[in-house]
């Protein structure tokens, strides 16, 4: 299925949403006593250059079913909060020991390991709190909200992102697929599913969004790794340590094949939403963006 690029402008769609989401996030974390913890939370959640892909996907999935985007905003913000929490913890010295994130020093580098742990511990519940206190009750019935909370908790929990992080640290290279799916696919999956749940999508549609979101999440990361590797080669420094990524384990060519498979898979899932007509277009454009990076968002 091919979409004429003139009909839908993902960049405008995305940047408009980023602005609104950033504003909501800014208001959701006002600084109060004890200031330091709010500053630590804001530092990571409001980091410049954040692409807000999970929230935008959540909104797009919600709009697919004709539901107003206002229904999705609180959940969209919550996705950023729990995502930030999990990245802050992933970067810790006892984990990936990463000194930087999104082009700035990582949270513990600035606020210390203790505050970084607590900032994560505070952002997880803030996400749930934000959903239940800000979602317009006239747009989303409570049972749907309960499923959204459970879905997000599952995604970040012991069989989701926490599992991915654990195997990234302690698993063998044979776990690369699992690690990629959990560390990077889970957030995409959860974002698309939450959008569908908020809009009251049926079970089969939710399953479709699940597979779609997961494929896009992994695709995005695979392409990232390929681009990073190519940049390194141009600069002449080959990847030194073997990373638990498709590029790191199988090399660039194989990774590009994986990316093509994922792109096809994600689009196949969307073909099942044909009956919703034009409103599925943003979700298609996400797939191409993840694969081709035709423009840049968030980090200009």
């Amino acid at each position: 299925l091919s979409i004429p690029s003139t009909q839908f402008d993902l960049r405008t769609y995305w940047t408009t949403l980023i602005e609104e989401i950033n504003q909501n996030l800014n208001e959701a974390i006002p600084v109060q006593y004890p200031d330091i913890i709010y500053e630590a939370m804001r530092y990571s959640v409001l980091a410049k250059g954040a692409k807000r892909a999970p929230p935008v996907m959540c909104v797009a999935a919600c709009e697919l079913f004709g539901c107003h985007r206002r229904a999705a905003f609180p959940t969209a913000c919550a996705l950023e909060m729990v995502h930030a929490a999990s990245l802050i913890h992933d970067d810790l010295p006892s984990m990936d020991d990463d000194p930087s994130r999104r082009g700035q020093p990582s949270n513990h580098t600035i606020f210390g390991v203790d505050m970084a742990i607590l900032a994560g511990d505070a952002l997880f519940p803030l996400g749930f709190q934000h959903i239940v206190s800000h979602t317009p009750p006239d747009l989303v019935p409570e049972p749907r909200l309960l499923r959204v909370v459970a879905e997000i908790a599952r995604a970040v929990g012991s069989t989701g992102m926490a599992a991915g992080q654990f195997l990234d640290l302690e698993g063998g290279y044979e776990t690369v697929e699992f690690v990629q799916e959990k560390k990077f696919g889970e957030m995409g999956e959860c974002s698309a599913v939450c959008g569908g749940l908020l809009a009251g999508a049926g079970d089969e549609e939710i399953q479709r969004l699940r597979r779609y979101g997961r494929a896009v999440g992994v695709l995005y990361q695979v392409v990232n790794d390929v681009l990073k590797e190519k940049m390194k080669r141009e600069k002449g420094d080959e990847m030194k340590k073997k990373e638990k990524s498709y590029v790191g384990v199988f090399g660039v060519d194989r990774a590009l094949e994986v990316a093509e498979d994922l792109r096809a898979k994600a689009k196949r899932e969307l073909d099942g939403f044909e009956k919703y007509g034009e409103s599925v277009v943003p979700l298609y454009s996400f797939v191409d963006y993840a694969a081709d990076r035709g423009f840049s968002v968030g980090d200009q």
Binding site: L92, I117, L118, P125, Q129, V132, E142, A153, V156, S158
Partner: protein
């Protein structure tokens, strides 16, 4: 007034705690199965099933039953508050925080599983608490479950538990910490989750708004009471008696009630808080309020 607030002679607190504790332990055991990756789930179970006193879950269930709800309505929330409590202990014990080797008489989580797994097991327990409440609570109107989730989230985040830990960390080693700041620490670090436990039980049990608010006040008092007693025990008991490192507040140069008020005045404060707590229950059926009164007494007079 005093007599009216006494626990009815017929109430067997020990048997009550044993019976509720068993139900809670069984529910907790079932709430975390040994899935893949095994090590993360082992770490979660190691701390969650380490045989804590289950004060928070029992408070949750007792509050639910006091307002007329069945135990089953509060059980997922009861498990949830224990998961959160466990998670905060795991993270609190980490080398970058309190650096504790011993908890509930056993090596701390990171000592057994490593720091990385301890952080992840804590995060996973936090998430599971919300997932469990959202998906396993049955027989309660969704609006009430939503309200309970909001209450729990607020009580453990930057306006609750985390705020207490942040101020606690910031005041360690300082000589000019006043009573007000000490109270802030404990109201947030300890009382907030106890309050959450009771309020969740009351909401899920179908309590009217004024009942929920009375129980909230009750919980605030016993939350502070809990910490005052904890501080007293830290200076008066041995590590063996406590099952955790004794005197660690002194070693860490932390401000405590005995340090600010002296042991005697701290004991008086405990008495006063216990009475204030029980006053909140005077409007309820004394028979039904007996477990909460006994729990307040237990918190006030416990030896570890």
């Amino acid at each position: 007034d005093e007599i009216q607030n006494e626990t009815p002679a017929t109430f067997d607190f020990k048997a009550y705690m044993l019976q509720k504790g068993n139900s809670v332990n069984q529910a907790l055991d079932q709430s975390v199965s040994l899935k893949e990756p095994q090590k993360v789930h082992e770490a979660m179970r190691y701390s969650l099933l380490a045989g804590g006193k289950r004060v928070r879950p029992v408070l949750c269930i007792a509050a639910c039953e006091l307002v007329g709800g069945d135990e089953s309505k509060a059980m997922p929330a009861a498990c949830g508050v224990e998961m959160i409590h466990t998670m905060s202990l795991i993270h609190d014990d980490l080398p970058c925080m309190d650096n504790d080797d011993l908890r509930r008489g056993k090596p701390t989580n990171h000592k057994v599983f490593g720091e990385d797994v301890a952080v992840l097991a804590g995060d996973a327990l936090l998430a599971l608490a919300f997932e469990h409440i959202a998906s396993a609570t049955v027989g309660v109107a969704p609006a009430r479950i939503i309200r309970a989730i909001g209450e729990l989230a607020r009580s453990i985040g930057s306006e609750g538990l985390v705020a207490g830990q942040v101020v606690d960390i910031g005041s360690t080693g300082l000589s000019d910490v006043g009573l007000e700041q000490l109270e802030f620490i404990h109201v947030h670090k300890t009382a907030a989750l106890l309050e959450g436990s009771v309020v969740l039980g009351a909401i899920l049990g179908g309590g009217a708004d004024e009942e929920v608010e009375k129980l909230r006040k009750f919980a605030r008092c016993i939350g502070l009471l809990f910490q005052v007693v904890d501080d007293i025990l830290d200076v008066t008991m041995s590590s063996q008696e406590l099952g955790k490192t004794a005197g660690k507040d002194l070693v860490a140069d932390k401000v405590t009630y005995p340090k600010l008020l002296g042991v005697q005045k701290s004991r008086e404060l405990a008495e006063q808080l216990n009475k204030e707590a029980k006053d909140q229950l005077s409007g309820f059926d004394p028979e039904k309020a007996a477990p909460l009164i006994a729990l307040a007494n237990y918190i006030a007079y416990r030896q570890n």
